[in-house]
Symmetry: C2
Subunit: 462 residues, 2 copies
Amino acid sequence: MKRSYRRRRVWLRVSVVTVAAAVFMPLPETGAAEPPACESKPSISRHHLLPANNKTVHWGYFSKSRAPTVYAHSGDLVTVETLTHHANDDAERMVKGDAGAESVFQWEKGSKGVDRRGAGPMDASIMGRGAGEGFGVHILTGPIYVCGAKPGDILEVQILDVKPRPSANPNYAGKTFGSNAAAWWGYHYKDMIEEPKPREVITIYELDTSGEVDWAQAVYNFRWVPQTDPNGVVHKIIDYPGVPVDHSLVKEEHGVLKGVRVPLRLHFGTMGVVPSEQDIVDSIPPSYFGGNIDDWRIGRGGTMYYPIAVQGGLLSLGDPHAAQGDSELAGTAIETSLTGVIRVVLHKKEALAGTVAQDLKYPLLETKDAFVVHGFSYANYLAELGDKAQQEIYSKSSVDRAMRDAFRKMRHFLMTVKGLSEDEAVSLMSVAVDFGITQVVDGNWGVHGTIRKAIFPENRQQ
Amino acid sequence: MKRSYRRRRVWLRVSVVTVAAAVFMPLPETGAAEPPACESKPSISRHHLLPANNKTVHWGYFSKSRAPTVYAHSGDLVTVETLTHHANDDAERMVKGDAGAESVFQWEKGSKGVDRRGAGPMDASIMGRGAGEGFGVHILTGPIYVCGAKPGDILEVQILDVKPRPSANPNYAGKTFGSNAAAWWGYHYKDMIEEPKPREVITIYELDTSGEVDWAQAVYNFRWVPQTDPNGVVHKIIDYPGVPVDHSLVKEEHGVLKGVRVPLRLHFGTMGVVPSEQDIVDSIPPSYFGGNIDDWRIGRGGTMYYPIAVQGGLLSLGDPHAAQGDSELAGTAIETSLTGVIRVVLHKKEALAGTVAQDLKYPLLETKDAFVVHGFSYANYLAELGDKAQQEIYSKSSVDRAMRDAFRKMRHFLMTVKGLSEDEAVSLMSVAVDFGITQVVDGNWGVHGTIRKAIFPENRQQ
């Protein structure tokens, strides 16, 4: 395999140069020529390495004018490092000694490793929080340009492996840490019973890096108190991502959730391609292009299918989670840096008939055992809500609407992919499809519908 | 065990006499003396047999003035036959030759095996559908009077076994059948894409009675066409339960859902005690007292805990289902007659501290692996919506409200039963509790929250 190895090394050098040179670039018009990096498709698939650092991540938004970090052909593998945007809740455990994380979270007065955080104005003229205003919070690695991808095609992303990122602090060798923030955007926030209310509480969890222990446990929690960032802005609440928490100001309560073991569900909360409707799109509301779906089933062994909206697709992923329940009730999961191995497969629009991606206009998950459709309050909020969509979606969150959308998508899947009549599809939905509440914290709230593969003769494993 | 056997026989004789003599009776005032049948508690638990026939079922409602069919002491077992109210969708397969079912479904002009069907007026003066108006549809077996039960106590119901009721028609030996109605109250009904619309469609499913096959399959479906009942009332839609379908009028489409295997989930859609707020309560909307929760997890191995509202508790069960998805989207499950074996255990209010039933004000499910709380659009719609609650609940259905209620109940469970602080409970909910949509078809819509037992040291099986 020496040849393959050499090819990979060559690619890496080229790729890094590209990233350093041009963070934003004009997007080629649809129908434009493919970039030079795509010109010759190698005879065997390549395995790219995409580390997470301040050159390879974008923070809080999707953008069609963001320069690709990797140019991948259909069938290529990519090892992708992803960082949690909550690492600075406990920098000792989640940033210190980790060169990639340090480059991203670096922040001194007037200097940030990644300045823009969110889709808002760079001068923070609306809220004064900081560049990008925190309108969008997730650290996303990418984008990955998929050679030959055009609007109307479908991008398949197979998640071959997901592993926790070990703490780089020798004091915590063998451990990985994550943060759960019960935050102001949480579902519980205006509905508390204990004093003082409201309040934001961060719980730090730990897991074993070996992969042999399948649960996480709490280490301590603390109440958020106003934090002053290196630029002098005071954050009374968690309103900007990556603010370093000064642990001399907070009171760590150890011994919380004693004996409680949280089953691991390693997954990417946010993964998706770039929408065409607007540029610089808040990373928080999920939509037809995927994004912040926050379905814990999008982990190892899962395969996502996304409708491609712009040339190259431009896949990014991040918002890594160690565990999350259906609803992500308090606003976050166990937010933990993870490294994934994915394979990208391009399905051209003219070859979709008869596949699971036929006429697909929404993000579809296939797992070992099931197909899962993702419904939202608005199936395509950018198109449906117009120019102010990115603000208005937050006032239109609704589980009821998301259920309606999930019902329609599951019916579409059963009629299109499985060839059922509407009557067959509706009966089968009533007796065999499970609808669950994906999240109630991401503006465009989500309901997913799950149908098991064993139901269908063509999917049954005999 | 001869002694036990004789005692049971004695009881059975007494019980049948009671049922035949007084179907309705004045309820003893709270604090009244226990009925004579409860006076001497035997030294060992008894096993009662409660067949389903026109003397032991009530159709479409819960009522505190309904005479008990069984008087059980805490710890007693009851084998309970339950009948699906959809059996007359295909009487050949689901009624014919079955003496119990025939006695219930018997209907000739001016004579019905069970006249009242629903909580409406007996003279059908509102809609003209028939006695009880079909305001409530489920055939419920019972009630079971639990000796010593008082308001404020908790009734635990362990479901030890659930088995399908074989077809009594020799042409269908070894099979059990069920009906799925995609009906006018279904979630899809005003949101169809194929013509003609709207339409109601019934799909007949079959399962194996041996218990060795774990899936059901469709036999045929047909569109509902107007059916004239034996009293001459025309039912243009499925608006009254137990109307015999004339199969010379419908077109059976065989070969539907070809090759599709629906995984079995035998369970009781409706089980609960009697509410105190009103008498003759529509069986459709679930509430604090249980009732038509339609959670498919309420099957074999499950244990329900209900807050008791009236003396004796008065447990009834029915609405048996062979399979259902979370949402029961089209309005029904695979509606199939089942026989269960349950154990009733009474928990007196003064002994609830430190148990899973501490301060319990809602129906709680415990399975082998999990605890499940049940939230509704209105936690107690009878109390919250006042005199017109039974009508108004249908215009106030909301998944959003049910999610809010389920969140509050899960928080209550974690803080009360598991002793967590609010901050611990909220964090754990976000990372480990799954919220799903139980049903969107029962007026008082449902969301359930599930937390796995393995999370807690005291529930972990080492």
